[in-house]
Each structure stands twice: as C-alpha cells, then as structure tokens.
Symmetry: C2
Subunit: 249 residues, 2 copies
C-alpha cells in the first residue's frame, strides 16, 4: 500500500495546488425585438452587488448537467426547449480573488418564455436575476464581460451555418419572425424578399406546417405561412452575414 502511494506520489492530482471548477452560463433570449442576456446580482462577496453571469460550482455531475442545473436554480423556473453548448474554459490564475477557479462557460439559446412577464427568480447564490438587454450590460463581475463577448460572437457565427435561430422562436414561426432573430442577433437589417427565398431554399432548414397566421402583421400586410424547424443540423449553403467581404480579422 505505502509503496503504491509512493509510486503514485508524483502523479497524484491532490499533490497539485487546489483548484475549484465552476460553470457560468451565457443565456440569450429575444424580448421585444432586443437581445437579452440572463444576469444575476451577486448577493455575497466577491463582487457583491454586481451583475454576473449565472453559474456556480460543479458537484458530482457532468459539466452539461451542472450548467442546466445552475440555470434552472437561478431562473427559478423549468426551462423548456433550450439549446445548450459549451463555449470554452477560462482559467486565468487571478480571475477569482478567493482561490484558483476555472470556469467552464456555456452558451444557451432560449425562446421567449411562455409567461411573457416572467422574471427569473433568485436562486441559491443570487440576490436577484433578470433578463438584461445586451447593449445595457456593463460592469460584470470576474471576467464575465469577456465570456459574454465570446458568447455573443459564437451566437452570431452559429446563426450562419446552423438552424439555431429557431431556438429563439416558438415551435411554429413565420419567416418574418425568423428574420427578426437574425436581425436582432446580427444587429443588421436584412432584405426581406431575399431572406425569404434563401431560407426556403436551404434543404431541411424549415418545413411548412400548412397553416397560416390568423391575422396579418400589426401594421398591415397579408397573413403569413407558418413553419417549424426542419431536420437539418447544418445549413448548406450557409446564410452568411452581409457586409464582411474584406473582413481580415
């Protein structure tokens, strides 16, 4: 026994400086035509009183599970159909003043919640939680501003080559609603006619329900057909963001 311990000594993880692992979640949704991110106001030091991404330390669970759990705890509600993917890990030695904490960041796309006025409930370690318009976000705790920026860029890129825009809509949606998602996330106006044709031309992006909306738009216009998400996992050809012909960075 003691010989095995000695043999393993140089390789025992416990011989290394202590470290903690947390998950932080960049949860995005669209409300009132604006991109919102879920933030919590910290109730305890460090950074008490400041806004931060929801998250917490991982328990005896998978990383994905930890992300979903933290999100549910701090929103206080069951999240229905959401898209969740790992964003990256952040481990600068001084990013948490308490000790070495490595954070695995997740990106979540959520449709606007069923209850239109639903405010997230404060969960375990958050004093308050709210959906905040992305342009209004400032002074996040830790390195969360950087994590949010990385999440936004990932979201913008993902809309190009995956059908994940549908993760922001209801189960059934119009092409105009889908276009609104792209315009909101990309922050650019798109040409309605060309967008319409493009979406329908990509195999498996959307499929028709055969139904139409009951009324026209709030400012006029004909009723529009309803679609649901198709079975494509990747968009071919992709919907590229306009105006980046000479993008060198």
């Amino acid at each position: 026994m003691s010989s095995e311990q000695e043999f393993l000594a140089g390789y025992d993880p416990r011989a290394f400086p202590p470290v903690a692992v947390s998950v932080d979640v960049v949860a995005l949704t669209i409300r009132d035509g604006e991109l919102h991110v879920l933030l919590v106001r910290r109730g305890v030091p460090p950074f008490a009183g400041q806004w931060a991404l929801p998250g917490g330390f991982v328990r005896a669970e998978d990383l994905d599970t930890a992300a979903v759990r933290e999100l549910a705890e701090e929103t206080g509600q069951q999240l229905g159909r959401i898209h969740l993917e790992q964003l990256g890990s952040y481990g600068a030695p001084d990013r948490d003043p308490r000790m070495r904490v490595i954070s695995v960041a997740y990106l979540v796309f959520a449709p606007e919640l069923a209850d239109p006025g639903a405010q997230p409930q404060a969960g375990s370690d958050a004093a308050e939680a709210a959906w905040v318009p992305v342009p209004a976000v400032r002074d996040l705790a830790f390195d969360h501003a950087r994590i949010l920026a990385d999440g936004l860029e990932r979201a913008r890129a993902k809309l190009e080559y995956t059908p994940l825009a549908t993760a922001f809509t209801g189960d059934e949606f119009t092409i105009a609603e889908l276009r609104a998602v792209y315009e909101t996330v990309w922050g650019e106006r798109l040409h309605a006619g060309n967008f319409h044709r493009k979406v329908l031309s990509v195999p498996g992006f959307v499929e028709s329900t055969g139904e139409s909306t009951q009324t026209g738009g709030p400012r006029g216009g004909p009723r529009s057909r309803l679609y649901r998400r198709g079975d494509a996992q990747l968009l071919h050809p992709a919907l590229l963001r306009p105006g980046r012909e000479d993008a060198v960075r």
Copy 2:
C-alpha cells in the same frame, strides 16, 4: 471573522467536492504525407502502458501556458512556430478513476519539425512519446479517443475558413504543398488547377515571395513559385470541403 466565514460558507469553493484540472493536447503535424498526432505511452497507472494524449495537471499558470508547457516537456524540444487553441473541456464524473478530474483540451498545429527524424523525448510523466499516424491510433486512455475525434473535426473545419493550413507548412511553401495539407487533413483529393486559382483569389491568404523552387517536383513538372502566409485571419470566401452538398448532419 467567524461571522464572515459563516456568511461565506455556502459559497466557499472549498466546500464542494474536490476536483483536479488537467490539460490535454491534441497536437497534429503532417509527416510523409500523413496526418500524425503526438501521443505518449503512460508510465504509471491508471492506464499504464497505454497510449494517451500528452497533458498533465495545471499549476499556478494560465491554461494556455499549461498546454504549451506540457507539450514542451513531453516532446523534450522547443516547439517553434505553432498554432494553439482551446478545444473544449471534458468533465464526465468517472472519466478518471483516481478522482474527479476535469480536462481542458487544446488543439495544436505544428509544422514538421526541423530535425526530420526528431522523436519526441519522454518528459515528466510519460514513458515514451511518438508521432503516430492518425489512422493507426487505437485504444487511447481515458476519454482521449473522443477528444482526438473532436480535435480532428475542429481541424478539418478550421481549414475551411482560416489560413491555418499554413501552420503545417514551412515559412515558405508552394501551392502544391498547401494543397497537400488540405488533402491530408480532409482525406480527399482536390483538383489541382481549381485549388491553385482559388487560393490565389482569396485576399490575404498567401503572398508571393517572388522566388521559385530550385527544382521541379520529384516526379517531374516545372518549378513552382513560393509563397508565404498573408495577413488574413479569415478566408473570404472560404474554401469549403467538397462533397457535402446535402450534409444533413
């Protein structure tokens, strides 16, 4: 003091189950026209004697730094110009039999090393290290087979929209050498003429040195012009992989 400790108790990272953090590196290079990955043979349990990705536990350093350090230690040589990027984190609760270990995986592209016969030297915790042809890899320790698969897919995708194929070549290269990188990583033959024109048409991908090779190819053909990497960070338009028109997954 004790009141502060009590206040912080629920939020103290040390109150959570112990966890260790490691980095694992998928280092790819091209040798003899085949894609190779750097592996180490484990000298100690668990998985003693099996091949694994190089890696180790993080110290008081940034994650990127840890990846570079482990790579240098286990190859035993100074790696010159390499490309390094984070691949993702792997944290299944039972992925390491010793204890909870969360691994941050990195992806490295390295040109063939200056010394053509250079065999990596065994470093700290590896009994042996070698560049192994990717198709010959089997039975990796831990969940490293999955990490390698994810790294390969990332590498294939990155060649499409970034100039990272140049990370596999020397500082100066011919279009044919660049094409060989694409063919090796993608595992597909490309049309020489169209590839040539395409590469030169993408702004900032490559720039001419004005020089040419001293001889033609080993099996004949004219001398070819030499290029170096341009300043583009992204390829517009991208070089898409052929034959995935209807890719639904």
